[in-house]
Amino acid sequence: MNITDISNIISYIVLFFSIYFNVFLLISFFEKKSLIKIEDKIKPKHFRSTTIVVPVFNEEKTVTKSVLSLLDLDYPKNKLKIIIVDDGSTDNTWRIIQKFKKNKQIEVFHKENGGKHTALNFALEKIKTELVGCLDADSFVEKDALKKIVSHFENPKTMAVTPSIKIYKPNNFIRHVQDSEYNYGIFIKKTLDFINGINVTPGPFSIFRKRVFDEIGGFKPAHNTEDMEIAFRMHKFLYRITNSHKAIVYTAGPGTYKALYKQRVRWSHGFFANILDYRFLIFNKKYSGIGMFTLPSSLIAMGSFFVFLILFLIMIGKGIVNKVIEIKTVGFHISWSSFNLDWFYINTDLKLFLGIALIILTIGLIIYGKKISENKSKFSWHFLYFPFVYSIIAVPWLIKAFYTLILSKETKWR
């Protein structure tokens, strides 16, 4: 068996798993699709008392918008409190948030810088409400988001609820790529909810029962991804996390590749470091969706990514070596006769058709993500960004994340 055979077999296996992953999600989704319509109509019977924590660190430009969106929530004012915790900002953030002091709903605190999880824990000690949530200061919520989420707590088993996150008015290429990725994410989150496999309670507007923290403790440093660690820990204690697809939170999203790269190195590294910490969940039937599906498929995805990458590099390397040999023997010349329009030279390899199937599946899921969150499902060319662009620009941060993981380094927030 030569290298081509080996790389073919590996490619087939990887493509098989990728298609399986998407098909599995699709089946899970359609199995419970009726629940979506029911959920869309449900209204909360009780407006449970809620506190939203806004941890801020040097966010003078965006904090006002975030807090104003909270004040604008369609929710009884006496049931909603807001705590802004300035985690030792070095810019004007502290001065800017002073204007909120007059508002009876809002409390403002300042503390020494200690990282996001310390700001959250600082606030948790002061909270007496039944529910508690967090809103990152680069995000803002839609008017009905909290109402939608709170209706989930009618089920006494629900311990935390995650929202649908979207990019706010994507205005450049990098944000459009993220927009298509987030739409895919909306579908994935909803489906993971159906199989109890949600792996993160994201910083923008995940809402918890306050007793979760009293019972299993507050936030941990968790490789700078405290929102993933708490979700893993909740699964460990068999606490149910659900998703409210109609509760929409907008986030700006990094506007440059460099900023996106930093964010994603932190996320990817945090995700895999947390999986390592919670590896006992994997293939443990007790932990249903997270143990039997989300984590194993994430690991398979990560593994196949690196195998693919190595094969790809070998292929490129061989191509370069051949080209160098050619140039060394006959010099550099462009040969037009090698371009041929005969259909015979069109690739008819199995990998190509499997790849097409996978891309069609992925785009289908993105369209569904858009449909369940906005009731719109028009095809947009931007959807193609996720399979075609995201998969390429993700390569550097996955490599970096893996590199920091094996050297057990820690990532930076910014």
């Binding site: 081509t4 098989f16 298609i19 399986y20 098909v23 599995f24 089946i27 899970s28 199995e31 199989i195 109890n196 039937k285 249903s288 969706g289 039997m292 599906f293 051949n322 040999i325 050619e326 023997t329 006959v330 010099g331 550099f332 010349h333 462009i334 040969s335 006769s337 041929n340 005969d342 015979f344 030279y345 690739n347 008819t348 390899d349 199995l350 190509l352 058709f353 499997l354 199937a357």
Partner: protein
């Protein structure tokens, strides 16, 4: 909440269906490609036979007609497609092996015909026989040189033979020029043998003078 085992199975079945559909489409198109190769081989074989017959009937009186026929183009085309097919493994090894043997046979037949035409009609054809194998290190380099030569001098006829093919006609050709595995890459230019890697300059020096003046302009730097 448990995930039912059924769901894993359903997903598996659907994935298998998608996979098999992919295999089916890919198979179907590759079979069409093979069909095309076979058809092209048959066409070349028919052309050769037809010219041979014409020649037998009319002798040198048919020179003009015969010389002007574009015999090599189809064969070249077939050769290119075969090497693409080999690189992309569009079919099983045995089927491919047979196609290659067929192609080699057609090459030998055409070579003999061209030689005969040359002496009877005084056309002075330039032929290069090139023996290679997939194991020989310098052969890929020699391949680049020959591709280059073929592009620069389109009227030269290059016939390449895979030394490892188990074909009795090819074995005979090997023994005629006493080609052995150690001598690869092995080249025969108008009947004169050269063994080992020959650079593009060396190769050009083997060509008769009149042909060197006909070089097409290539964008060499």
């Amino acid at each position: 909440m448990e995930i039912g085992w059924k769901k894993y199975i359903y997903a598996l079945v659907i994935t298998m269906v998608v996979f098999l559909a992919g295999v089916g489409i890919s198979r179907y198109l590759n079979d069409k490609k093979i069909g095309e190769l076979k058809l092209s081989g048959d066409k070349v074989s028919l052309d050769i036979l037809s010219i041979e017959t014409q020649f037998a009937l009319l002798g040198e009186y048919s020179c003009e007609e015969v010389v002007n026929s574009d015999l090599s183009a189809e064969l070249n085309n077939l050769g290119k497609k075969l090497s693409y097919g080999e690189k992309n493994s569009i079919t099983s090894d045995q089927e491919f092996y047979n196609l290659k043997a067929y192609y080699s046979l057609l090459e030998i037949k055409e070579y003999l015909l061209i030689k005969k035409l040359g002496s009877k009609c005084n056309t002075k054809p330039v032929t290069i026989l090139y023996f290679y194998s997939n194991q020989c290190g310098d052969c890929s380099k020699e391949g680049y040189v020959l591709t280059y030569i073929r592009e620069k001098y389109p009227q030269i006829r290059v016939y390449s033979f895979d030394y490892d093919l188990e074909l009795s006609a090819l074995k005979t050709l090997n023994s005629v020029y006493s080609v052995t595995a150690e001598k690869l890459p092995f080249i025969v230019v108008n009947g004169k043998s050269y063994s080992g890697f020959k650079s593009q300059e060396e190769m050009e020096s083997f060509l008769p003078k009149y042909i060197r003046n006909t070089a097409t302009t290539t964008t060499k730097q």
